[in-house]
């Protein structure tokens, strides 16, 4: 289950990299309903453990808007709104609500008027911000337990439960793919003629996979290759070759969608590749194994 979501509000990073301009939008982390339910469950478990006489538990997002609420059996009805108010106040000020109760108690009575423009401002102990890696992603408010003190103790336990939560981004929202294992004989057989180890089950890559793996083998020079989307990560195993990268291809033809070939290239950088070398050729960069000392074997991960 995933509890925290990345709210991607733009493609800033790519733009940033190319233009160096200031950030206009940013990523932010938000609590999911699953996460809110888990916070409530942890709080209810604690309420049961300490034999609290009741409790309303509210979880709001970082804007103070209610995400989930539960009112335990026998808890007085007004506690639901008080719990929402505590949570909202805590989220909008990113502080425990006890801060406000204490300030007012200690003589700063005028603080009660903060309520004016803020809907449901509730300066009562029992609201605690929910933090994820140092950022406030929401808040929890508890009302209706034995005392304001117990309200807050329960809220703290609920807030702590967030430490053990996962983020949606870990698998980008879908189930992880199975592990791939290719035994050595099969790998060796692929290198003998050159072949695709992973990714030959369709023309394009698998919808939820962004890589292919090739066991490449060359007996002679190839053509200039340009991959519109694929970055090649090459590890040389056997033989040697002269690799030319960059430059301006001459007579470019499209051989498949997003795949281009040319017989020659003007300019570019020349490198001599030997076993053990690693080369990373970003997408869009022309590359050409111009001279090959056969057999030339190299392992390629194509990343899209």
């Amino acid at each position: 289950m995933k509890y925290i979501t990345m709210i991607a509000t733009g493609i800033t990073m790519a733009i940033l990299a190319s233009t160096g301009s200031a950030e206009s939008v940013s990523d932010k982390r938000g609590l999911t309903l699953e996460g809110a339910k888990k916070v409530i469950a942890a709080t209810v478990a604690e309420a049961t453990r300490v034999n609290a006489p009741g409790g309303s538990i509210a979880v709001v997002d970082d804007g103070g808007n209610l995400l989930a609420l539960e009112r335990l059996d026998q808890t007085f009805a007004a506690s639901a709104n008080i719990a929402i108010g505590k949570a909202r106040t805590s989220a909008l000020f990113k502080k425990p609500t006890k801060t406000f109760e204490d300030a007012i108690k200690n003589g700063r009575t005028s603080m009660v008027t903060l309520g004016g423009d803020l809907q449901n401002f509730t300066p009562l102990q029992g609201g605690i911000p929910l933090e994820w890696e140092g950022k406030v992603v929401g808040a929890i408010g508890v009302s209706g337990a034995a005392s304001a003190q117990q309200d807050e103790e329960l809220a703290i336990v609920g807030a702590k439960s967030l430490d053990s939560m996962e983020m949606v981004g870990v698998t980008n929202g879908h189930a992880p793919l199975p592990v791939t294992y290719i035994e050595s004989q099969k790998v060796a057989a692929s290198f003998a003629k050159g072949g695709v180890l992973v990714g030959d089950d369709e023309n394009m890559m698998h919808a939820s996979r962004n890589y292919m793996v090739h066991a490449s083998h060359r007996e002679k020079a190839g053509a200039v290759e340009i991959h519109e989307f694929d970055t090649d990560i090459v590890y040389v195993l056997k033989g040697s070759a002269t690799l030319i990268t960059g430059g301006t291809p001459v007579g470019t033809k499209t051989i498949a969608p997003h795949e281009f070939r040319a017989p020659n290239v003007n300019g570019g950088e020349t490198r001599k590749l030997v076993p053990g070398d690693v080369v990373i050729i970003p997408n869009g960069v022309p590359h050409w194994f111009k001279e090959v000392d056969a057999p030339f074997d190299y392992y390629v991960v194509k990343v899209r």
Binding site: N65, L67, A68, L69, E70, R71, D73, A77, A80
Partner: protein, 161 residues
Amino acid sequence: MTTQMFLCVTLSMTMLAGTADAQLVEKTALTLDGAKKIAAAAEAKAKAEGARVVIAVVDESGSLLLLERLDDTQVASVNVGIDKARTAAIYRRPSKVFEDQVKNGRVSALALHGAVALQGGVPVTVNGKVIGAIGVSGETPSQDEDIAIAGAAIAISFTKP
């Protein structure tokens, strides 16, 4: 026991029948567990339809028992969902009734105290008695109500402890 007030989980009808002039009555009340079952049924339907909604469950008096805002639901639906549920609970009828009245020319239905004339609130009924209500907000009025009905319908399976 006779002088104490019961506000919980037992049936009144049999008692009432026998003692017409009793001072107290037992009522069936919705528990948090029941509210969770209602919300779960509504949530299942919403997710099956890809609906982004707030689901609010209130008790017989219209006070909030449980609320869920599904991921990516507009935040304004929190209060609208609670309002619809309260309307259905305290008036003991679907909130659509009032929306229809307004539509059909009875504009004064907008002045009903504590009510919103918006489709999507549905009473939860056990043995013919309203014990609470569910309110749904976020999608179209009829889809909101369909999801609320799916939640309220689960009450037919409710049992007492």
